[in-house]
C-alpha cells in the first residue's frame, strides 16, 4: 500500500524531473561515471547555473552570516568582530519574542486554513460536478493576484468602520465589530485569513492533481470492502495524499517564515507589533534604522528556521528519487 502510494501520487511531483540524471547510471561503467560523454556535457551545461547559484545564493548567505558577527549597526560599515553579540541582542529583544509568537499564530492559522479548505475544495471538485473548470478557475484565481494587491483589498475589507463590519451591522450584529488585523493581541489571525484566501487555491490544485492520481480501483476495492464515504477518505484517500500534505506544509511553512508583502500593505507592524513578522523586522532594522548587522542576524535566523523545514523535505525527496 505504502509503495503504491508513492508510485501513484508522486509522479506529478518532482520525481519526473529529478529522475532523469539517474538514468545514465544504468549505462556501462568502464570509465569513471563523471567522465562519460553525456555526464561531462551535463556537467558543462549545468556549470554556469551552479556557479551562479554558488555566487549569488550561497556566497551571499555566507556573507550575511559573517555580517551578523560584526558591529555594523550604522551607515558607516564597521567590520569589528563582536562574536555573537548581535545574536544575543536579537534573542533578548522584546520585538523578536513577539515576532516568534506571531510566526506561530501565522503558521498555524495559514497552514490550517490552506490545507483544510484546499482539501475540501479539491474533494468537492473531484466529485465530477458540473462547471468544474469554472470553479477551479475561480478558486485558483486569487493565487494570480499579487500579495500587495491582496493586502490592499483586505486592508479595506478589515477596516473596522467600513469593511466587513458593515455587513455585520446590517445583519443586526451591531455589537460584533471586531478590529481584525489591528487587534493588538490577535491581529495576526486576521492576516492569515487574507493570506489563506490567496493561497488556498494553489493548495487545492495540488490536492486535486493528487486526487486524480488515485487509481479508481482502490476506491472500488474500498467500496467492496464496505467502506462508506467517510471511511474511504479516512483510511484510503487521506493516507494516500500524505506526500501532498507534506508538500503543502512545507510550502505554507516557508511562506509563513518569509511573509512580508501582504503585511506591509495591510498595516505594517500593527499596534504593539500585533502583525509584525521577522521579515518586516529585518526590513525595518536594515533599511529603516540602518542596523545592518542586526538585519543580517535576523536574516540568518530566518535561513536557519527555513532550513529546519526544508532539509527534511529535501531528504525525503531524495529518498524517493533513489528508490
Amino acid at each position: 500500500m505504502r509503495n503504491l502510494a508513492h508510485k501513484s501520487v508522486t509522479v506529478q511531483g518532482e520525481r519526473g524531473l529529478a529522475a532523469s540524471p539517474a538514468v545514465s547510471t544504468t549505462k556501462s561503467r568502464k570509465r569513471p561515471r563523471w567522465l562519460q560523454g553525456d555526464m561531462l556535457i551535463a556537467i558543462l551545461v549545468l556549470l554556469p547555473s551552479i556557479l551562479a547559484v554558488a555566487l549569488f545564493i550561497y556566497t551571499f548567505i555566507g556573507w550575511t552570516f559573517y555580517i551578523s558577527t560584526v558591529r555594523w549597526n550604522s551607515q558607516v560599515p564597521d567590520y569589528t568582530f563582536v562574536g555573537l553579540r548581535n545574536w544575543i541582542r536579537l534573542f533578548s529583544d522584546h520585538r523578536f519574542h513577539i515576532d516568534l509568537r506571531n510566526l506561530v499564530y501565522y503558521a498555524v492559522g495559514f497552514m490550517g486554513q490552506c490545507i483544510i479548505f484546499g482539501f475540501i475544495l479539491a474533494s468537492l471538485l473531484d466529485t465530477k460536478i458540473k462547471g468544474e473548470t469554472l470553479f477551479r478557475t475561480i478558486f485558483i484565481l486569487p493565487f494570480a493576484v499579487s500579495g500587495i494587491v491582496t493586502g490592499v483589498a483586505w486592508r479595506w475589507l478589515m477596516q473596522p468602520s467600513t469593511g466587513i463590519n458593515l455587513i455585520f451591522a446590517q445583519l443586526g450584529f451591531e455589537n460584533f465589530q471586531p478590529t481584525w488585523n489591528s487587534h493588538p493581541q490577535y491581529g495576526m489571525w486576521a492576516v492569515t485569513i487574507a493570506a489563506a484566501w490567496q493561497f488556498t487555491g494553489y493548495i487545492m490544485a495540488l490536492y486535486l492533481a493528487a486526487l486524480r492520481g488515485i487509481p479508481q480501483e482502490l476506491k472500488e476495492a474500498a467500496a467492496i470492502d464496505g467502506a462508506g464515504t467517510w471511511a474511504t477518505y479516512r483510511y484510503v484517500i487521506i493516507p494516500l495524499l500524505m506526500p501532498v500534505t507534506f508538500t503543502a506544509i512545507v510550502l505554507t511553512g516557508m511562506n509563513s517564515i518569509r511573509v512580508f508583502d501582504i503585511l506591509n500593505t495591510m498595516g505594517g507592524s500593527g499596534p504593539a507589533f500585533a502583525t509584525d513578522t521577522l521579515a518586516f523586522f529585518m526590513y525595518q532594522s536594515t533599511f529603516g534604522a540602518y542596523r545592518y548587522s542586526l538585519g543580517a542576524t535576523i536574516s540568518s535566523f530566518m535561513i536557519l528556521l527555513s532550513a529546519f523545514l526544508i532539509i527534511p523535505y529535501l531528504r525525503s525527496m531524495r529518498g524517493e528519487v533513489e528508490r
Binding site: I41, L44, S74, Q75, G268, G288, A289
Partner: protein, 444 residues
Amino acid sequence: MSQAMNRRQFLKASALGASAALLAACAAPAAPAAPAAPAAPAAPAAGEAAGAGSLEIFSWWTSGGEVEALNALYEIYKARYPGVEILNAALAGGAGQGGNMKALLETRMIGGQPPDSFQVHLGRELIDSHVIPGRMEPLDWLYEEEGFNDVFPQELIDIASYDGSPWSVPVNIHRSNVMWVRTDKLSVVGAEVPKTWDQFFEVAEELKAAGINALAVAENEPNFSGHVFECILIGTMTPDAYRGLFDGSTPWTDPGVTAALEILNRAYDYANPDYLSTSWGDINDRYVADDGPAMMIMGDWTHGVLMSKQFTNYSWAPAPDTEGIFLVLSDSFGLPKGAPHRENAINFLRICGSREGQDAFNPIKGSIPARTDPDLSVYDEYLLSAMEDFKTNTLLPSIQHGAAAKQSFVLDYAIAINILATTRNVAQAQAALVQAAEDAEFGA
C-alpha cells in the same frame, strides 16, 4: 556516429559559450559597484560645461500639491538653464523610516552612484545617514556665496550644521506643533480653544459628556503618536533641556519626559476609541467626518489637506503649552560627493535657497519659506501667521521628522510611544525611550 559527435561538439561549444557569457554578465554589475569610490564618477563631470547635460533629483514628492511645488522649482531651473535635462526621480513613500525612496537612495549612495541631489529632512537625518559616512560635500561656501547665512535664521542653520558646516539647503519649513480645532465641535460645548493641557482636559471632559471625542489619534502602527508626543514634550521641558535630550546632557529619565508621557497617556482616554485601528493615512478623513474628533495635533501640512477636502470649520493654535515654540522640520537638498553633474546640482541648490525659488515652491506645497525675506503677497492666512511665529519663536528640531535625531532613534522612539499607546504603561514606555537613547549613543 559522426552525427552524434557533431551534436556533442555543438553542445560542448554552446555550453562553454553560455558559461562564458554568464560569467561576463556576473562580472559586469559587480565591477562598478565595489571599487568605485564616491569621488571617482566626479571626473567626467569636471570637464562638463555648466548648463548642459542632465540633472537627476531624488524625492518622495509624488502626490498632489507636492508634485506641482517641485515642478515650480523645475520651471525656474529650466528658464535659467534651458540646456539641462531634468530627470525627476520621485518615488512614493519615503518620509517614514524605511520608505521606498530612502531605501533606494541608500543603495545608490553605498554603491557610489549618487543622484545629483536628493530630498532629505534637514538635520540629523541627513547628518547621520550621509554626512558622517562621508558621502556629502559641505556647503559653507555656497551659504556664503548666496548669502544664506543672513536670510536663514541662525537656529535653523544650527540644525543643518555638523562639524561647523551646513550640509544642505532648506527649501521649506513645516511646523510640527500645531493643534487643529474643529470650531463646530467646540461650539457644541461652548468652549474656547485650549491653550494648556489643563484646559485641554477640561474641554475634553465637556466634549466627552456631549459624546464627542476630543483628540484624533491614528496609531495602528508606530508613528502618529510619536508626532503628538514631541509636541507635548516641548511643553514640559525647557528648550535647552529638550535640545539636551539629543546630545546626552539631558537624560531620558528626566521628569519632563515622564510628565509628557503622562499627559499623552491621559489624552488617549479622550481619543477616538478605535485609535489602534486607524492609520495615519485615514485620519484626515476621520477628522473631517460628521462624527469626527474635535482636535488634532498634527503638522501644518494638515492645512493644505483640509483645504483640499473643502473643509472649512477649523481654526488652529499652537499645541497646548507650546506658545512661543516652533517645532521645525524642513525638507532640504544636499550635494552628494561624486554627483555626476555637480555644476547642475549646485545651480539647483542655488534656486532652492533663492527667494524666487522658495516663493514659487512654498505657497503650492503649503509650507513657509526658510528665508526670512519672502514676498508676503503670495502666501495665505495660515502661512502668514506661521511666518510671523517662525521669525519670533524659539526654534526646536522635530524628533519624528528627522531634524533632532538619527533615523534609528526615530524608529525606536516611535516604537516606545507605541508601547504607551498599546499598554498604557508610562514606566514601560519611558524605559523603552531610555534604551533607545542608549542605543543611539547620544553625546558619545
